[in-house]
């Protein structure tokens, strides 16, 4: 597909998904009962372990790198400020977004792409079911519900990484570290991070759906589209993060 045709197809699908999601929220039709919970459970169990592991490791890495510098100036306690703000406003949204692209985005493209290749989307259409609504609406609603849980988890685990390093490398007691984090991080910071992650989550689901619905070739196309979905999702996340940076700072 030519770039202009791709942008057009992406915009049409985005419009369709938004329309069908709002229509579903109003009329509660066109989606298999229980599917939203099923997707929410699948997204949560698939992403939570890796999100925890990655954010914990990033918390440790950033803390270790920063602790060495801060100690030179006797500013050990500011490690809590740095980790709290960096994690909640920037690193957690970015890392959760990227993890979602790898875990959720890839699986959505592979699943729906295979359905397209196996004529299942045509079968849904000829059963009078709108495939975009049937397949994408539960995923969009599920990601909207899953992201706040994942963000809360990732924020906690990321800061826990900082607590561990502060205790071992700087001798800062955990209660002191956490008090300092709470004194510097506001509810607005948390909501900013949550809002960014939500937008990244939507971008991942929409990009994955776009790549799945526009597969043209057979089984080979599914693999190609899955890779492209991850690349597109990560590119969108970085691009949107840049936009947020301009808008918020």
């Amino acid at each position: 597909m030519q770039p202009f045709a791709q942008i057009k197809a992406f915009s049409l699908l985005l419009g369709d998904e938004v329309y069908h999601t709002f229509q579903y929220l109003r009329r509660r039709r066109g989606v298999l009962p229980g599917e939203i919970f099923h997707q929410l459970f699948a997204m949560g169990t698939r992403s939570a372990p890796i999100v925890c592991l990655i954010t914990f490791l990033i918390g440790i890495t950033i803390s270790l790198t920063s602790a060495a510098q801060l100690r030179q100036f006797g500013a050990d306690i500011y490690l809590a400020d740095l980790i709290g703000l960096a994690m909640i406003k920037e690193l957690v949204p970015l890392m959760v977004g990227i993890m979602l692209a790898g875990k959720i985005g890839a699986s959505i493209t592979a699943e729906i792409g295979t359905m397209k290749v196996m004529d299942e989307l045509d079968a849904l259409t000829t059963m009078g079911i709108v495939p975009v609504k049937f397949l994408m609406t539960p995923r969009l609603i599920a990601i909207t519900l899953a992201v706040p849980l994942l963000v809360a988890l990732a924020d906690s685990v990321g800061i826990a990484g900082g607590v561990v390093v502060a205790k071992i490398a700087l001798g800062t007691p955990p209660p002191v570290f956490l008090r300092e984090v709470l004194s510097v991080v506001t509810l607005s910071d948390f909501l900013t991070g949550l809002g960014k992650t939500l937008v990244f989550g939507w971008a991942v689901v929409i990009a994955a759906g776009f790549k799945a619905f526009t597969i043209e070739a057979g089984a080979e196309g599914v693999g190609k589209a899955t890779t492209e979905a991850v690349v597109l999702s990560i590119s969108l996340i970085i691009g949107l993060d840049c936009v947020f940076a301009f808008a918020l700072y």
Partner: protein, 246 residues
């Protein structure tokens, strides 16, 4: 009695016209088989009749009502009156056999009590001989069983007619014959109308009431299977006698 009437149908992709000026009727309670070699346009014709590909010109009427392919309402009406058996079966792999067959009911008849839905699904599974497999997922079934399950799903809302795309494709001769028997039995016992696209000559001989032969997007023969030998068209003769292309 006609259930489908096609008049002056031209179908294509972009500037390429694949089907030219088709005129024919599908009769109620009969099995109409569309045959032709690869590239003759039979799958394109099927896609158009099931509303997945809008025609360039011409019209299709279902039970006397003309279908407007640009109108979502008309297409939705069409989808409520037809069932489709796809070449791959196209069952949803994430659902069990029972859930697959119940899907059209759960989407279109949300007011049906669970017992009524279950009764209907089990009745369909019984008709296609799969009542013992309702908890299995599609990949646990053989190719023939998947097709029979897909047929049960196509029939679950009692459509006016069922379209079958290459039902014998990928099946061994015995399973293929079993599926043909099932189609004939459903036609005879339940008065189901079928439009079947295939190029399997044995299958055509077993099930066809009416045959439509396509070549290069045009109709070369339409009539009863018994009338094929009397056709003056050498292509039709060659096709059915499995001779090289004249």
């Amino acid at each position: 009695m006609e259930i489908i009437r096609v008049r002056g149908l031209d179908v294509g992709y972009g500037d390429t016209v694949i089907l030219h000026g088709l005129d024919f009727a599908v009769l109620k309670g009969r099995i109409t088989v569309i045959v032709g070699e690869s590239g003759s346009g039979k799958s394109t014709l099927l896609k158009t009749m099931i509303g997945l590909l809008p025609p360039l010109r011409g019209e299709i009427s279902l039970a006397g009502e003309r279908i407007d392919f640009g109108s979502e309402r008309d297409l939705h009406k069409l989808y409520r009156r037809i069932g489709v058996l796809y070449q791959t079966g196209a069952l949803l792999n994430s659902l069990t056999l029972f859930e697959n067959i119940a899907l059209p009911i759960r989407m279109h008849h949300r007011d049906w009590p669970a017992e009524k839905t279950a009764g209907r699904v089990r009745d369909m599974l019984g008709r296609v001989g799969l009542h013992e497999h309702e908890d299995k997922v599609p990949f646990e079934l053989s190719g023939g069983m998947r097709k029979r399950a897909a047929l049960a799903r196509a029939m679950v809302l009692d459509p006016d007619l069922i379209f079958c795309d290459e039902p014998s494709a990928g099946l061994d001769p015995l399973t293929s014959a079993g599926l043909d028997e099932l189609l004939s039995e459903l036609r005879t016992a339940h008065g189901v109308t079928f439009v079947v696209v295939t190029h399997e000559l044995r299958s055509i001989a077993r099930i066809a009431d009416q045959v439509l032969v396509l070549r290069d997007g045009a109709i070369r023969f339409i009539g009863r299977i018994e009338d094929v030998p009397a056709s003056p068209d050498p292509y039709v003769q060659a096709f059915f006698l499995r001779k090289a292309e004249p």
